[in-house]
Amino acid sequence: MSQVLDREVLDKGYVVPEVLVSTQWVADRLNDTDIRIIESNEDPLLYPSEHIPGAVQVDWTNDLNDPIRRDYINREAFEKLMSRIGVTPQTTVVFYGDKNNWWATYAFWVFQLFDHTRAKVMDGGRLKWQNESRPMTRDIPDHKPTRYQAPERQDAKIRAFREDVLEHLRDRGQLVDVRSREEYTGERLHMEAYPNEGALRGGHIPGAANVPWSRAANPGDGTFRPAQELRDIYVKEQGLTPEEPVIAYCRIGERSSHTWFVLKYLLGFGNVRNYDGSWTEWGNLVNVPIEK
């Protein structure tokens, strides 16, 4: 049942529609044991305040990041996480969260570093589910732990490091800066209403197009815009070519995960990487090129 396609999503014309499901699709499968619903938010108190029945929390700070290095968890930690939340390689994980699925797509992206491809995002996330008055609970589910075995983390296909960005820059490759216009121009060093997390320089990586991540979402309910509207933004307006490699970045790689998801799956770009070092790294690096 879990692999049945979702008509509501199919109608939006995406290249890889299998990665997105509607709130109704999720509501119809709350008791499906082949599915694990995962909530990922910025605020760790949001999930315990209430969540979709049966959903588990994966916290980006504590569950997905290495506690010491600025890096993601390794294979062993990922196996522990998946075992704890009762997931097997056959389980379809469905992510949702606040802020139009910022953190949901971020968690989705990290899961792809370990090749857990049975993964989907619930369109509209937490906001849409709540707006539709669907059930929420404070009950923490008691899923039976598993013994998940994961492959070693594979960064190369979907993650870019600074050396990759420099090489990409030399090749005049496509870059998308998904931050706000003010951050892109260097007028601000941080998002409006967010603190500066330490960038010394403002501006953007030379040649990067500026498409704030939120343009991909419908402001009313946080769902992704239909494929044609997305194509109008990224391909027609910005001139990005789906056949050429592209690297997306933001401040720490979370907003750009949203854009990575849009370009890779919804629009079918062949080679999309997320530069998670993003501006908190580039804006502090000595002697790298910056444009304002």
Binding site: P44, L45, S49, W60, N62, A193, Y194
Partner: protein, 163 residues
């Protein structure tokens, strides 16, 4: 910053921390069970009451907005007859549960405290309350709530100081 769970103010000998805040920090310090701590914070968030209309109404003016707080928090200080202040808050982002919990804590423990003590509260109480479970950005936003309360207390002290 002190070790997680320690009250950072205690490391600064000369600072007197408001009594109610000290009491709350003392209560929270031994709670190592994460679920218990989360439930306590949720309970605080549940008791949060928004600024009354007699103090402020929407649209809230920007000058009361906490800078760098993505939960869209606002703070007001209402001067009391005894020279202290009652602190009021609004949190416009419905997902800002941590901001609501902190607003409740600050409103409950700093209202009625001597203003010079409020001014001296160390923003690192955020790490003592939430421990290491929040991101850097989130922590900075919550610390900005404490700093905004301090600023309002400082402004009130300046107003009441004889010239």
């Amino acid at each position: 910053m002190g070790k997680p769970g320690q009250c950072p103010d205690r490391e600064i000998g000369s600072v007197v921390i408001p009594e109610k805040l000290q009491s709350l920090l003392d209560t929270m310090r031994p709670i190592d069970d994460q679920n218990q701590r989360v439930q306590m914070l949720l309970d605080f968030a549940g008791q949060f009451k928004e600024v009354p209309e007699r103090v402020a109404a929407r649209p809230f003016p920007d000058k009361h907005r906490v800078p760098f707080c993505e939960s869209e928090a606002y703070v007001w200080a209402e001067k009391q007859a005894d020279g202290t202040a009652k602190f009021h808050f609004a949190v416009e982002n419905p997902s800002g549960i941590s901001a609501k919990a902190l607003a409740y804590i600050l409103g409950r423990t700093l209202s009625g405290a001597p203003l010079d003590q409020v001014v001296s509260v160390n923003p690192d109480i955020v790490s003592a309350i939430f421990r290491q479970n929040i991101s850097m950005g989130k922590g900075m936003g919550l610390m900005a709530m404490v700093q905004t309360v301090q600023k309002l207390a400082k402004d009130l002290m300046r107003e009441t100081r004889p010239s």
